[in-house]
C-alpha cells in the first residue's frame, strides 16, 4: 500500500461519512438489521454467561466441597467397614467423613409416638461441616466410639412428641431402645423438600452412626459424605478416593459410585456453553439478513449515483478507487450498526440481569465477536455493489444525467 492509497483511504472515509450523514434515515434503517443481530448475539451470550455464573455459585454453595460416596459393594463385601473408612479419612484434603445411614423406624415417648420417623446415623464430621444444631449439643467422637444412646430431634418431632415441654435431657425410645435427647435440629431446606415431596413430614432424628448400624443390624456402611478442605482440589481428591475404593472392593466394577456437586456444575457448564453457541448461531442469521439489507441499499445507492461515478471516472478515478469508496461505505455503515448494537446488547443484558437479580458482567468476547462479525458482513455484502460501481462504463454513467 503506497502513500497515495493512504490519502485515498482517508478521502474515501470522509466521502463515505458525508454520504451516510446525508442519507441519515436510510442509513439508519439499513443498519437496523445489523444492529438487531449484534444486539441479539451480545445479549444472548451475556445473559447466558451471567445465568451460568449465578447457577454455578448456587450449586457450589449447595456443596461443591462435599463428595458423596455410594458403596453398595460386591457380593462378598457389602459396603465399607470402619478400617476402610479410616483409609479414606487419611487421604490428603479430606476434612472428614460422615456415614450416611437412613432408616425409617418407630419412635415413642410416654405421651406419644411416631411410626415412620426418619432416623439418620451421623458422626461429628457431619456437625462440623453443616450448621444444623439449634439447641443443645452435637454428636461427639465419644458418642460414636462408645455407641452412646443419644439423639437430636427436629422441630416436627419436638412438636409431636414434646408439645409444650423442653425435650433436652428427656428420653425417647427408638425401636424400643431408650435414647437421651441432647439437641434440637434447626429447620433446613431439606425439611421443606421432604414436605414438598412426601406431603406428610414424619420428623427426623439423628443418632450416632454406630448406634444406627446397631439399630439396623448392618456391619457395613454403604453411603457417606466426604468433606473436603479445599473444593478446588476436588478432582484430584476424587481420584484418590476412587483408588482407595477400588482397592477396598478388589477393583470390581460398579461396586461404588462417587458423586460431587462440582462435576455436576462442570456438566452443566458444558451444556450451557453448547446452548450459547447455538443461540449465537441463530442470532447471527439476523446478521446475514442485515447484510442483505446493506447490499440492497448499496445497490440502490450505486444506481442513484451513476452520474457521480461517471464524473469521478472522468476526473481520473480508477476502478479500484470507486470500489474502495463503496466498500468502505458499506463497511462503515455495518460497523456503526454493530457498535450501536453492542451498546444495546450490553444495556439489554444489564437490564435482564437486574430484573433476574443475577450478577452482570460485561462480556468483551461477545462484544468483539459482534463488532467483528458486523465488519465482516459489511465487507462481504458490500463487495458486489462496489464491484458493480467500479465496472460501470463511464460513458453510460455520464449520459444518465
Amino acid at each position: 500500500m503506497g502513500i497515495s492509497s493512504l490519502y485515498m483511504l482517508r478521502e474515501n472515509i470522509s466521502m463515505s461519512l458525508s454520504n451516510i450523514i446525508n442519507n441519515r434515515l436510510r442509513a439508519f434503517l439499513t443498519t437496523l438489521g445489523i444492529m438487531i443481530g449484534v444486539t441479539a448475539i451480545i445479549a444472548l451470550i451475556t445473559i447466558v454467561q451471567s445465568v451460568t455464573t449465578e447457577m454455578t455459585e448456587q450449586f457450589t454453595a449447595l456443596g461443591a466441597s462435599n463428595v458423596n460416596i455410594n458403596a453398595s459393594g460386591t457380593a462378598l463385601k457389602r459396603g465399607l467397614n470402619p478400617s476402610d473408612m479410616q483409609t479414606l479419612l487419611n487421604i490428603e484434603n479430606v476434612a472428614g467423613i460422615s456415614p450416611n445411614i437412613s432408616l425409617t423406624l418407630t419412635v415413642a415417648t410416654e405421651t406419644g409416638w411416631e411410626e415412620e420417623a426418619t432416623v439418620e446415623g451421623r458422626n461429628e464430621h457431619y456437625f462440623a461441616s453443616e450448621n444444623v444444631v439449634e439447641r443443645g449439643r452435637a454428636i461427639n467422637p465419644i458418642d460414636t466410639e462408645s455407641i452412646n444412646r443419644v439423639c437430636l430431634i427436629d422441630k416436627t418431632l419436638m412438636k409431636s412428641l414434646f408439645y409444650g415441654i423442653d425435650p433436652l435431657g428427656k428420653q425417647i425410645s427408638i425401636s424400643g431402645i431408650s435414647h437421651t435427647v441432647i439437641g434440637v435440629l434447626a429447620s433446613s431446606n431439606m425439611d421443606l423438600m421432604r414436605q414438598a415431596q412426601g406431603g406428610r413430614d414424619n420428623g427426623r432424628i439423628i443418632v450416632p452412626y454406630t448406634d444406627a448400624m446397631k439399630l439396623s443390624g448392618t456391619q457395613n456402611i454403604t453411603s457417606m459424605v466426604v468433606y473436603l478442605k479445599d473444593s478446588s482440589l476436588a478432582e484430584e481428591t476424587i481420584k484418590k478416593l476412587e483408588h482407595a475404593l477400588d482397592t477396598a472392593f478388589n477393583f470390581k466394577e460398579n461396586s461404588y459410585f462417587v458423586f460431587n456437586m462440582q462435576s455436576l456444575v462442570d456438566t452443566m457448564n458444558t451444556v450451557l456453553d453448547m446452548m450459547t453457541a447455538l443461540l449465537a448461531g441463530i442470532a447471527s442469521i439476523s446478521l446475514v439478513v442485515g447484510g442483505i439489507g446493506i447490499m440492497n441499499m448499496m445497490l440502490v445507492s450505486v444506481t442513484e449515483r451513476t452520474s457521480e461515478i461517471g464524473l469521478r471516472k472522468a476526473l481520473g478515478a480508477q476502478p479500484k478507487h470507486i470500489q474502495g469508496q463503496f466498500l468502505i461505505e458499506s463497511f462503515i455503515l455495518s460497523v456503526i450498526g454493530g457498535i450501536i448494537g453492542a451498546f444495546l446488547g450490553v444495556g439489554l443484558s444489564a437490564l435482564f440481569c437486574n430484573i433476574m437479580d443475577a450478577k452482570f458482567t460485561i462480556s468483551w468476547s461477545a462484544i468483539s465477536l459482534g463488532v467483528f462479525f458486523s465488519a465482516a458482513v459489511g465487507i462481504v455484502f458490500g463487495w458486489a455493489p462496489a464491484r458493480r460501481a467500479s465496472n460501470l462504463n463511464p460513458i453510460d454513467a455520464l449520459r444518465s444525467m
Partner: protein
Amino acid sequence: MSEFFRMRDIVKQYQMGDELQTVLKGISLDIQSGEFISILGPSGSGKSTLMNIIGCLDVPTSGEYILRGRAIADLSPKQLAEIRSREVGFIFQSFQLLPRVNAMRNVELPLVYAGVPARERSKRAEAMLERVGLEDKLYHYPNQLSGGQQQRVAIARAIVTQPTLLLADEPTGALDQANGKAVLGLFKELNEEGHTIIMITHDLNNARQASRVVNILDGLLLEEAV
C-alpha cells in the same frame, strides 16, 4: 509543433435494440501540441461521442487512435483512468460539480485520484480558483454560485492537474453571452499558456474563437479554414 494525437478511420457504433447505429462513420483527425481547435456541428451529429473517445472515456468500435505516442485500443480500464488523470481535463456543458461539497473540494477531486497529499491539494485548488477569478468563493457550494461561476469552478477543476489537453463539451451552452465570453477568454489565455484545447460547440461564432475549426456532420468530419 509536435503531434499530440492522431486518429484514423474511427468508427463508433451503438447497439440500439435490434438496430446497430453507427454514430461515427470513419473519422480521421490530427492535432498538434498547443492547438486550440473547435469541433462544430449540429445536435446529434456525434460531437460528444467523439470527445469521449478523444478523452479516453470511451473506446472506438474500430479505427486507430494514438495519443502522445500510445495506442489507446490496447489499454486496460486502469491505464485509461491514469491517462485521464494525467493528460486530460474535462469541461462539461452542465458543469458537473458535486453538489454536496464546496468549490475547493470540487477542484481538489482530480488531485485526490492523482494521489496528491491533502495540504498540496488545497494549495493548488486555491491557486486555480484564484486563476479563474473566484478567490472570494472558495467555500461556496455549487447552489450558492451562478452558472458562470460554476463553470469557472469546473474549469479550475479541469486545469488543476496541469493536463496537456483540455476537452470542453459545449462549455458555454448553459451560459448567458457575457459569461460565455468570459469562459472563451479564459480558454484563449490557457491556450497561450500552452494547453492544447479542443472545444465542442454548435455555435459558429464561438467556434471562430479557435485557431482551427473542424465541422462534424452526421458522424463525418469536414475541415474548414478560418
